[in-house]
Symmetry: C2
Subunit: 398 residues, 2 copies
Amino acid sequence: MTNTTITAPRGFKAGAAACGIKSENKLDLAVLACDTRAACAACFTQNRVQAAPIQLSRDHVKEGYAQALVVNSGNANACTGPRGLDDAATMTQLVAGKLKISPRSVLVASTGVIGHPLDMAKVSNGVNHAYDNLGDTEDHGRAFAQAIMTTDLKPKSAYREFTVDNQTIRIAGCAKGSGMIAPNMATMLAFITTDAKIAPHDLRANLVQAVSRSFNRITVDGEMSTNDMVAVFASGLASDHELGETWLSPFGEYLYELCNELALAIVADGEGATKVFHVMVTAARNFTQAHKIARAVAQSLLVKTAIHGADPNWGRIISAAGAAGADFNPEQASCAIGNIVIFNRGTGADHDRDALADIMNKNDIWITLNLNHGEASDVVHSCDLSKQYVDINARYRT
Amino acid sequence: MTNTTITAPRGFKAGAAACGIKSENKLDLAVLACDTRAACAACFTQNRVQAAPIQLSRDHVKEGYAQALVVNSGNANACTGPRGLDDAATMTQLVAGKLKISPRSVLVASTGVIGHPLDMAKVSNGVNHAYDNLGDTEDHGRAFAQAIMTTDLKPKSAYREFTVDNQTIRIAGCAKGSGMIAPNMATMLAFITTDAKIAPHDLRANLVQAVSRSFNRITVDGEMSTNDMVAVFASGLASDHELGETWLSPFGEYLYELCNELALAIVADGEGATKVFHVMVTAARNFTQAHKIARAVAQSLLVKTAIHGADPNWGRIISAAGAAGADFNPEQASCAIGNIVIFNRGTGADHDRDALADIMNKNDIWITLNLNHGEASDVVHSCDLSKQYVDINARYRT
């Protein structure tokens, strides 16, 4: 079997270590290194409270290049003041020293509890071990994906490969998020490698578009973390020269597909989640209207609990849509669960109850709301709300 | 003991009946009637999907007067199309016929399941019985408060009385909401009576202000119903002539107090709630900033579960504030739980952990977030999120 981890694209090595930030000797620190000065783009959390590694990485990625990444799990290095910034900077310096590159060429990410300073002796040890373990096999890529997990139930990775102008281009990514048993760990991290030869500004444009159509289209509990980050590194080793304009569009499409696969994996591994559901709003007046309504329904606690209980409670769907803060006319709208229309032009629609019950008992459910207003549409992916979510988040003690 | 129900202000009678909309012979229909053509003002849900009674009452209250109200529980008469509008109109006609007034002088409200047509034979029967039972004693007022409940754990009522210019003015109210075992019943209804002599435009101004500072400052699960309604009726029988300007301000203050008491009672009786908490944002740049942040923290599932678990998890509070979509500088902000500062200028603050644990174990908790930006402030009241909430809303079958 071929390697489909983040070490699959040409030019990337990964190394992981268990340095004691997490308990039980679990992998909790990882380094990603590129043989070249890679084009790099990243998207960061919009939270006004931004963890130290976010602040530093945002600065380091400015010029569009980076050559390495260091990431730890178990501690978010958030709300840690000037000391936190120093610690994040030290992490980049430790890796830069090993790789003999500038600290500005290193991005840093952290995920875990908020408000506790990092134990830098452990981190320093971790960087040494991760560096010693650097390699480009499948096992190295898997260890990296493992090391960024907090209490996700499973590692999440995706891979795409395509050929343009007789050149094979590989894109690989891994993500963590939202499957956390301990809280304050709702951070979404995704790291993507590719060997495409692409200019930083093109890489950034493609990433922004892919992220807005994938990671920004999911919700587990409506919470945005202080540490969210998606970064892509492009080694350029797939070809000697930048490929023609024609390949940019397939690259963007595959990058989006990969991001979407990772995003859906995050929802499926959501805290306490037992089911995934998708809210599609069609025939909206504009994208904003479609998105607001899709998000409101996908985030509604009453809809999420109805999905959990396999109850085709369309009243909750329509009510949540109406409360979305986006004007629409319910007298024109219709709503379907799966392929069964359950609401039409302001009132309930006759339907086959047994067939609907079958759909509600599935683990993957589509809700479609047709506004009959215009041409725009959007979709938001979500998971059900179970007692386990409350258990997970109430039982924990800081 | 004196009567402190909605029949206490001079000129009001109430009657209730069990007409079989709800099971187990529970009170499910009630009529409120005023001896005079009362000044009347009402606030309605902002949901784009509005139940038939909301549409009708909004029209009937336009001129600022009303003389009666009919309300049923067990069925929301929402998403019921033209038939629902006809049924709501019939309810006002039935009551108007009995009281020999115009149907336009009757408001109508409904709460219960969405999407099912009312059984009008039962409703008609209920109106007859409620009319026959009309009276102005405490028992009559209590029966009314009982009849508007769906599965609230307890009836909620409040009373204020004050004297201006040697005239005693009474304000009484009752409310239902958010303590519902069956879903789609998250409707908030509140009805207020007063014998103040007040012009409709003054009544409306005072109600809007009181509602915005009370009912609009609470959240149980962030859901806004299709049927929410707050209405106040002023019989004018407290005095022969309209009181001077001086009394309007105490009237507004007492009306607000009464609304706030009812609003807090709704939160305390929230679905599955075991604790109440308040999020106060101070020193904000403006009211919008204060409100957005207070609401985001109050609605955060991670904060709500932390409160449930008595966990002083300030990371969740700060992260929710940062994600509120309101710009602020965490490096200037501080946060206290009760009187204990746990976050100061971007980082955790040393504090007495035992004292904090004592506060977290209380049933009523204040969170204060000082932004150190300006002079504005706001508060939002909320309750914890328990497994019972999920149970209540997932177990139910439509």
